[in-house]
Symmetry: C2
């Protein structure tokens, strides 16, 4: 067995989602907000992989957020080895390629994590990482499988196959964003997991897989990094070269095609906090089922999620199961269970 | 029958209610807001009694609002004969005394109107005034009775007695803010009306009644007006003298005690707009039962009242029967039917 190298965390901070509008906006997306704790999602993500088993992280982000990211990481004493500032978004597969190249491209394991997920049980996460490492060192690409508790149609699913080692299974099949009936079937089957979007593999194995399944992506990433501008920890890949890369997710471009892909099912209190409902579900409620933050007055209110940004006061009387969020000049009001409908608001605002 | 003098409208603008918080605040109470139309409640009230039958109005107000009142009346080309600026609030009876004195105290009829009520059918109102005038000229104190459509416990009620003339009845009894069961009884009886807070009587008859039933009030008002400071149309009654007046409503101090009190029952689309629910009830709804004003986005919303002040945007999805108001730095959310509970919020904010 080869020498165990420290794991290099790769934090993907490319998202600019609007699913938590009006709090999450392109200038300050979800990962840069303190949604579930005093610390931001990015800070929590970075601190999750500090310790002797881990090297300093590589962060891949939108250039627009460079200052905020450095400030937030400095505030929790996380020192990066590189901050890669994408000239344009090309989805996750090329972003991870940039990071794998920045990591040196060798046999060091890289742990790819979205910057905006919650993991409540960090010990379980680390145990899962530990379980995966021997297969990773043998060249397997590993994903982490979340035990599903709802027939989610917005996630990718994994059919968990035969055991390869203690706690590690072959991926039998990926199922991307299934229809409702298929999701319910998979939930009932007991042998499916959600694809949590967290990956562990050797940098060289990932780049090698790209060379087989998405060579144009590998070439574009390599050229962009060769011509990159560097300043301290900041790396600006060459915009012209990177623009040549196809845009695709790691799931489609690599994981669903590669032959040696494993999954580590893990119950670790995972959430992608993909909606206000999801945030309510993972937040600690008061005795009335309410979750509030900021200057909020609630009288006879139950099971509400209320967030008020600085300088605004929200008063609620006699309401149940309501989500109320005030941020900037915007105020959102919708019932729990409807937070997917935020896209309708975004569309209405565009018109 | 004596010569018919023009009626002097007396507009009471003393209120600083919080029932329409956060829109209505002490600095800009309900009567100074455009709640039901493009014009403010004060403007609508003043314009309701323009015409050859009416003299220029006398306005009694909180000194703090003097500029706003003058600007609003000028904007709708209403010229006052006096703007009496109360040094302190002493309820309606002393305020009306100040106005009766400013009117000259003679036999001219004065029409006392709160500045923050809605009257949808102005013709019906004027017809009621016309019906009352002969008795007013004979010295009767007249109030207008609103046909009740709910067992309101927050209003004063009137038992309508025998007919004195076409459309004018003796007041059999006043019932102040009854308990619920009593209100239901009166509603069912068919011979009760709400006391609308609008009065018509000769200035001298009112002052004479005060002399009998509330002499200290009369003396204080007279002395305050004798020592008043005057500047253009503005009159500042002497603060020290006016402070000597007892504080009481015209109902308690005079109407419930005087022997010759009449009521003109009238259906004129009256509302005191005493709550957000009341405002919703009198507002024109869209096809989904919604009433909105300002920058509001509604998707799948029904029977909601939504008001957004300048610079704020409210987005609602999938909610029913909700009141949402954003003004200043405050946001109010409560279900329809609960708007009386605003006082609970005000209390909570004080703590």
């Amino acid at each position: 067995m080869p020498e165990v190298k420290p794991i290099i965390p790769v934090i993907l901070s490319g998202g600019s989602g609007t699913r938590l509008w009006p709090l999450s906006i392109p200038e300050q997306p979800k990962q840069l907000l303190p949604l579930t704790a005093e610390e931001t999602m990015l800070q929590l993500t970075a601190r999750r992989t500090m310790g002797e088993r881990f090297a300093r992280p590589i962060v891949v982000a939108n250039a627009f957020h460079a200052d905020q990211i450095e400030e937030q990481l400095a505030a929790v004493e996380v020192e990066t080895q590189a901050l890669i500032l994408e000239p344009t978004g090309r989805n996750t597969a090329p972003a991870i390629a940039l990071a794998a190249i920045a990591a040196g491209g060798g046999n060091a394991p890289i742990l790819v994590m979205p910057s905006d997920h919650v993991i409540a049980d960090v010990d379980a996460f680390r145990t899962a990482i530990h379980a995966a490492l021997p297969l990773v060192q043998e060249g397997w690409l590993v994903t982490f499988g979340i035990a599903p508790d709802a027939p989610e149609t917005g996630y990718g699913w994994i059919k968990v196959g035969e055991a390869l080692a203690e706690g590690v299974h072959r991926v039998d099949r990926f199922v991307e964003k299934p229809p409702r009936d298929k999701a319910e079937e998979m939930l009932a089957s007991g042998d499916h997991a959600w694809n949590g979007g967290i990956f562990l593999f050797r940098a060289d194995m990932y780049l090698g897989a790209l060379s087989v399944f998405a060579p144009a992506m590998l070439v574009a990433a390599q050229r962009a990094m060769e011509k990159a501008r560097r300043e301290g920890k900041r790396i600006w890949p060459d915009a012209g070269e990177f623009a040549q890369s196809p845009s695709d997710s790691i799931d489609y471009a690599v994981m669903e095609k590669a032959p040696r892909v494993a999954v580590v099912p893990v119950a670790m209190g995972w959430s992608d906090v993909g909606s206000w409902d999801a945030l309510h579900a993972i937040s600690e409620c008061d005795a009335h089922g309410n979750v509030s933050r900021g200057d909020v007055i609630m009288i006879d209110a139950e099971n509400c999620l209320v967030r008020s940004e600085a300088g605004k006061r929200i008063a609620l009387v006699g309401v149940q199961d309501l989500i109320v969020v005030a941020a900037g000049d915007d105020i959102l009001v919708l019932p729990r269970g409807r937070s997917q409908d935020i896209r309708k608001i975004i569309e209405a605002m565009k018109r």
